[in-house]
Amino acid sequence: MAISFTVNDTPVSVEAEGDTPLLWVLREDLALTGTKFGCGVAACGACSVHVDGKLVRSCSLPVSDVAGRAITTIEGLKSADGTLHAVQQAWIAAQVPQCGYCQSGQIMAATALIKAVGRPNEAQIDAAMTNLCRCGTYPRIRKAILAATGQAVYAAASATMGEGAA
């Protein structure tokens, strides 16, 4: 069946079985591979996108449910002139990603949180940021969210150094 919706402000129409998860339509039909497959059961958040501005795990959302709605993916966060979203900039400044695979989803979750509450406090960050990261980038994710919302000045390297005898 043909299903129409918008992705990153561009109208699209795809031919897909209605039960196909949005994730696979984005990745395989629309070649938007920034949205990742991690678990297929909405447990890890790697596939997070915004649907009408709300955070959704696209691996478990049938594409038939998004007909007529507006999808934003990681590729659509930057502004028309190519300037990265403040959260993406904070992610670079804080050197958050390691393997990077979960980071599209983390950034989509963080931008949705900031959109919802403005300047999230620690407890709100704890509650909202449930996406999994195996590399353990959580401390830098936390700092980048605080920095993106003007609650921290992030000096990238917080490790300290000392001399010692060999």
């Binding site: 079985e17 196909t20 998860p21 696979w24 990745r27 395989e28 070649a31 591979t33 920034g34 949205t35 990742k36 497959f37 991690g38 678990c39 297929g40 059961v41 447990a43 890890c44 993916t73 990681i74 590729e75 966060l77 992610w91 670079i92 050197q95 958050v96 990603p97 390691q98 393997c99 990077g100 695979y101 979960c102 980071q103 960050i125 704890d126 509650a127 940021m129 449930t130 996406n131 999994l132 990261c133 195996r134 590399c135 353990g136 980038t137 959580y138 401390p139 830098r140 994710i141 936390r142 700092k143 390297a157 917080s158 490790a159 300290t160 150094m161 000392g162 001399e163 010692g164 060999a166």
Partner: protein, 755 residues
């Protein structure tokens, strides 16, 4: 520079009788296998042979640039391209290796690009070989213990392009990148001296330019490259004194990060070709089982499904897209045999291990002194404890995905693996092709942690067999369920520890009897001064394939030893930090690391009610790490980690920004495993299926900040990717014991608390 390798190693090992074949090919085995291939060439191993050099030149001098020693090239616009034989899966290796070469080269960092070396034997990593030979030279026992499969590898080609063992910076960087950078710098200076007709001693190299201050003349590296590339290079250039480092030690940002925040980075699973199909797979639930039969019709009835392919031990559905393939696979009811492993279970494994420890002879014994005499001596106090740790899944966030296309007799593969050359070799064997007929295109990896070594990646066999019989390209994607259930896990292992305390309150003798597939001594040594120790390995393998899991054996051995040290401290009525300290050599790096972490964590300061700290110190991959974890016990009995501290002595830190991320990430991965991770077996099959029942730590449960401190001791460089993991689980268990009185001896912790 690393120590000289021992040229006799190859002969000694070649004469070793073949041992019975063991399941799984371990990472260390690969390394030794590679080492033997070049044994005898003690000097200038990085100076590739002529044929190799010309091949590397042909592969890289496609743009008028000039290749040096296969490791780097300089273009006419001064761009220096460094070829990394290691994969960068986010650990920052490419940046660090570039820093090391560029520092010695006196190159302008803004004009340095680091690229993945082609998966070609011309780029096999000889510096890595040299480093591991040096590390192993004092341990002939390790080499002699190699399984027959590895001895067989020695006769094969020089497939060494591995990323593992926390080896990139300390071996490739130290013995390769720095030496090449320094040697090429000398050649550039010689070329400049000849052109300017001045003595080389009057020239100064800086920022990719050679200048002659006396006459105010200068030549750019790009101008000098062609001539310099024809000059012979010294194999032992003088390296910089650390005080002269400009790039080594700098927290330079990683080049790959922008592409990982805007969604543009293309991982293996993202790769696509025109006409490509997507496939997914279900292998026998019991490892070792075979496919008995499957009715293909239910899958073929799903729209988009094109083909069902049967392998010896798996069934694959090929479709237009992943969702159709997954639906098709779900519609099938394949019958698999259990390979005779139906009796295998988590409980049965622990029971067999307990039995083995009391009835069998150890496969390996380390330690010295008369332990038995000390155990019998009057007045000594005996303490014993048994520990158990489960299989652990790597849980790389990107499930396995490799694209294959068999065309005109060549099998092309696209994917992310920790050893591209080894991947070619394995795929070639599976497909019955020559290695030259397999082309591997390395892609970005969504995590690895030891899961992506060719020796443990049966997906290579699967994609090779699948692609070879299809006329179009195909991407094989493992579901998360397949990933969880068909891992090559950190082994389930157990240990019985015992020690006696003397009248002086010190440990008089120590015995640890541990059971698992691998002898752990090669990478998890014993750091304490104890007059008599006996560390005995009892070999046990289940039907699972043991795989290297970030820090390999150091996680379980670290948990055993460091938990037990706390139990001994308690028995001695001593503070755990001070008890450790008095068993470490006075004035040693261990004491410096331990003292520093205690100071940073304010070890002696009072904490609120219910808050307690735990401490642990482990040396692995040449790096000493001590960690302190502060916890509070929640009303439901769960521990909440509030703070974490890590102090690290890896000799010299190349990039503190990345090193901090590696240590903090390793600590968090260690906490995650300790808290809730376990792969369990029932009737030979894995019970867990996804992140729903294999829980990883979340942001809320991880410490908000990890305080990481490096001691630049200048000692021989150690690894950084793995050593952050091992101290985390014992530090957490020790903190829980302090806070609640409950001693955790079996992991994961949550299973003990809810039990």
């Amino acid at each position: 520079m690393a120590d000289n390798p021992t040229p006799h190693l190859a002969e000694d090992t070649a004469n070793t009788p073949a041992k019975p074949k063991r399941k799984g090919v371990k990472r260390r085995a690969f390394l030794v296998g590679g080492a033997l291939l070049v044994g005898g060439g003690a000097f200038g191993l990085y100076l590739a042979e002529n044929s190799t050099r010309s091949r590397a030149k042909a592969l890289t001098e496609t743009d008028g640039a000039h290749n040096f020693l296969t490791w780097m090239k300089i273009a006419e616009d001064d761009t220096v391209t460094v070829y990394s034989p290691h994969i960068d899966f986010g650990q920052g290796t490419h940046t660090a290796l570039g820093q090391m070469l560029a520092d010695e080269l006196d190159a302008d960092w803004a004009k340095v690009v680091v690229e993945q070396a082609p998966a070609d034997s011309a780029f096999a990593n000889t510096a890595l070989v040299k480093g591991f030979m040096a590390e192993l030279s004092g341990m002939p026992g390790v080499v002699n213990a190699l399984p027959a499969a590895v001895i067989g590898m020695l006769t094969r080609s020089q497939n060494l392009q591995i990323t593992g063992g926390s080896s990139a910076v300390r071996f490739t960087g130290q013995a390769g990148m720095r030496v090449v950078g320094a040697a090429v710098r000398l050649a550039l200076i010689e070329e400049a001296a000849a052109r300017m007709k001045v003595p080389a001693s009057e020239l100064v190299a800086a920022n990719s330019t050679i200048s002659h201050p006396a006459t105010n003349r200068s030549l750019r590296y790009g101008e000098l490259a062609q001539g310099a590339a024809k000059r012979s290079l010294t194999s032992s250039p003088k390296l910089k004194d650390p005080k002269d480092f400009k790039l080594i030690g700098a927290g330079l940002p990683r080049a790959d990060i922008p592409s990982k925040v805007d969604g543009s980075a293309i991982y293996g699973i993202d790769f696509a070709l025109p006409d490509m199909r997507v496939a997914t797979i279900a292998a026998a639930p019991v490892r070792g089982g075979k496919l008995v039969s499957v009715d293909e019709a239910p899958a073929m009835a799903i729209k988009g499904v094109e083909q069902v392919v049967k392998l010896d031990d798996a069934v694959i559905v090929v479709a237009k897209g992943y969702w159709q393939a997954a639906k098709g696979l779900a519609a099938l009811s394949p019958e698999f045999s259990d390979g005779g492993h139906a009796g295998m279970s988590t409980a049965a494994i622990y029971a067999a291990q307990d039995e083995l420890r009391t009835s069998a002879k150890p496969s390996n014994t380390a330690g010295s002194g008369d332990v038995d005499a000390a155990f019998k001596a009057a007045g000594n106090k005996l303490i014993t404890a048994n520990y158990r740790v489960p299989f652990l899944h790597h849980a790389m966030m990107e499930p396995f995905a490799i694209t294959g296309h068999f065309k005109d007799g060549k099998l092309h593969l696209w994917g992310g693996l920790q050893d591209p050359l080894g991947a070619r070799d394995r795929a070639a064997k599976a497909a019955g092709l020559k290695m030259d007929d397999v082309v591997f295109h390395p892609m970005i990896m969504g995590g690895g942690f030891g899961r992506r070594f060719p020796g443990v990646t049966e997906i290579l066999d699967q994609i090779a067999l699948l692609a070879k019989q299809l006329p179009f390209p195909v991407k094989l994607i493992w579901s998360r369920e397949e990933e969880v259930r068909h891992g090559t896990y950190r082994p389930q292992s157990s240990a019985a520890l015992s020690a006696v305390l003397g009248a002086d309150g010190k440990i008089a003798a120590w015995r640890s009897d541990y059971v698992q597939g691998d002898n752990a001594e090669a990478e998890a040594g014993f750091i304490y001064d104890v007059p008599a120790t006996s560390r005995r390995h009892f070999e046990y393998t289940s039907n699972q394939i043991d795989g290297p899991w970030r820090s390999v054996n150091s996680t379980q051995i670290g948990f055993y030893n460091e938990s037990f040290m706390d139990e001994l401290a308690a028995a001695a009525g001593e503070d755990p930090y001070r008890f450790r300290r008095k068993h470490l050599p006075a004035g040693s790096r261990y004491v410096a690391v331990l003292d520093e972490v205690a100071a940073r964590a304010a070890w002696d300061s009072a904490l609120p009610d219910g808050h307690r700290r735990g401490i642990a110190i482990v040396e692995s991959f040449g790096t000493i790490v001590a960690e302190v974890v502060e916890v509070m016990m929640l009303p439901d009995g769960r521990p909440k980690v509030l703070k974490a501290f890590a102090v690290v002595d890896c000799g010299t830190v190349v990039n503190p920004l990345n090193a901090e991320a590696q240590i903090a990430g390793g600590l968090i991965m260690g906490l995650s495993a300790a808290m809730g991770e376990a792969i369990t077996l029932e009737k030979g099959a894995v019970v867990e299926s996804n992140f729903t029942d294999y829980p990883l730590i979340t942001l809320a449960d991880a410490p908000a900040e990890v305080d990481v401190h490096f001691i630049n001791s200048g000692a021989k460089m150690g690894g950084i990717g793995e050593p952050g993991v091992p101290p985390a689980s014992p530090a957490l268990a020790n903190a829980i014991a302090a806070a609640s009185g409950k001693r955790i001896r079996t992991l994961p912790i949550m299973a003990q608390i809810t039990a």
